[in-house]
């Protein structure tokens, strides 16, 4: 009897310690501490505009059904296995957007996935890639967003299944899959390669679509850039490594052309979610598209997941 009671007490204690441990470890400040931004030079709005295009922010944050892609009222519904996310208003509106935010708030959101209220943000917002942008770049981007028109109105709240509707759960996810560190250039590689690697992995967040994801929605590292099912469950995203199934036969110029006009070497024109990516990347200088092509041509060939066979007619 006594033994049983002791066992029970021990179990409860363990559970409490386990929970406390989980609680501490998943604290936004513990798992994804606020990046040190230090003193920053005056913001370069032009650079911010470039990063805004490279990052495709309008693809998710522009209110759907309006022609003006610079009105960031949010509202786009993003389907996922965890429920539906609604992209929030990130226009500089002081009540409904991010008009009251400081640079540190913005850097925390973009590089650590933490909101000003100290809560985790969901990785359906691809800060997993954007975190590669250093604080200076993020401050430029923030300065640019502040030049855009404020838009009134909040987007609908997310509609997520339990337990994903609890933001704290994202802390566990971050423990497993998130590393908060900016881009580190490889000094052995050319300047163009490094620029390309930064644009593709950071603001461009190309791997967020061009990779397979696990059951928890994290990119499977061995399939990075090797394609997979569309994260929103519609169709297939192609392999863009140097595999025969990917871009092995594409020249650098052909990759840069696709990123500018959407035309493949066989003069097909990319559609689906890639069309908006092209519209945004087309805003970048040609040298940046060539740098991205240079980096993509250096990716090792990965076969990637098997594409499902087309059904017989």
């Amino acid at each position: 009897m006594l033994l049983l009671r002791r066992l029970f007490v021990t179990l409860v204690l363990l559970a409490v310690v386990g929970f406390a441990g989980f609680y501490v470890l998943t604290d936004p400040r513990v798992v994804s501490p606020s990046p040190e931004i230090g003193a920053l030079p005056a913001a370069d709005v032009e650079n911010g505009k470039l990063l805004f295009s490279a990052g495709g922010c309008t693809s998710c944050h522009a209110t759907p059904g309006q022609d003006d892609k610079w009105r960031l009222g949010g509202g786009l519904a993003l389907e996922s296995p965890f429920g539906t996310f609604h992209a929030p208003n990130i226009s500089p509106h002081t009540r409904d957007g991010i008009g009251n935010w400081g640079v540190q708030d913005f850097v925390d959101a973009m590089a650590a996935g933490v909101s000003p209220s100290g809560q985790h943000l969901y990785p359906s917002f691809p800060y997993t890639s954007y975190r590669l942008m250093p604080p200076k770049a993020l401050a430029d981007l923030f300065a640019y967003i502040r030049t855009l028109p404020p838009v009134e109105g909040k987007a609908a709240p997310h509609d997520l299944r339990f337990p994903f509707n609890i933001r704290r759960v994202v802390g566990g996810w971050k423990l497993l899959f998130f590393e908060r560190a900016p881009f580190r250039p490889d000094p052995a590689k050319s300047e163009a390669w490094n620029r390309g690697a930064y644009l593709v992995n950071g603001p461009g967040h190309c791997a967020e679509c061009h990779s397979a994801r696990n059951a928890l929605g994290a990119i499977v590292p061995s399939t990075r850039f090797a394609g997979g099912p569309d994260p929103e469950g519609k169709g297939w995203v192609p392999n863009i490594t140097q595999s025969e199934k990917g871009l092995a036969k594409w020249s650098k110029e052909e990759i840069a052309e696709l990123l500018k006009t959407g035309f493949t070497p066989s003069f097909d024109n990319v559609g689906g979610s890639m069309a908006a990516v092209v519209r945004n990347i087309a805003q970048l200088p040609e040298a940046d598209r060539m740098a991205m092509a240079e980096y993509l041509k250096s990716l090792p060939a990965i076969e990637g997941p098997e594409r499902p066979q087309a059904k017989a007619p």
Binding site: G262, D268, R279, P313
Partner: protein, 143 residues
């Protein structure tokens, strides 16, 4: 003998037509491939990789206009899936929008029907090829 051959040939022709009709997926993909091939020629001229030739330039727009007329008839309900089709379900959910997109493509293509110089060609070609990505974005999905 000759008559038999003619009849057979006639039957053969009829048969191909029927086959094409009964395989709208293959036919629309063939039509779009021709649009792709015309675009390759057009792009070479627009970039200056090939010499401008008014006859060839006008042929590009004719291919576009013909395709724009024919395409909307090649999406019967029975062809939503099958083959290697990349047609998105939205085509059947929004028939009006899909047809309007081809009507716009046809209008933009007919603006180039009589181009006579490189500048005019570049403008018309640029306007017509804007339609490719816009339509593929909404109505096409790789599977």
């Amino acid at each position: 003998m000759i008559r038999t051959a003619l009849v057979l040939a006639g039957l053969g022709l009829g048969l191909t037509a029927v086959m094409a009709q009964s395989n709208p997926i293959a036919e629309r993909q063939q039509t779009m491939k021709a649009v792709g091939a015309a675009t390759r020629e057009g792009a070479a001229m627009a970039k200056g990789d090939a010499a401008f030739d008014a006859t060839k330039a006008q042929a590009v727009f004719k291919t576009y206009a013909d395709a724009a007329k024919k395409m909307p008839t090649l999406f019967p309900d029975s062809s939503k899936t099958g083959g290697e089709t990349t047609a998105a379900p939205k085509i059947w959910e929004d028939q009006a929008g899909f047809k309007a997109a081809f009507a716009k493509f046809e209008t933009d293509a007919s603006a180039g029907a009589t181009v006579a110089n490189l500048d005019g060609f570049r403008t018309a070609f640029g306007a017509a090829t804007k339609n490719c990505g816009t339509c593929h974005e909404a109505y096409r999905i790789k599977k």
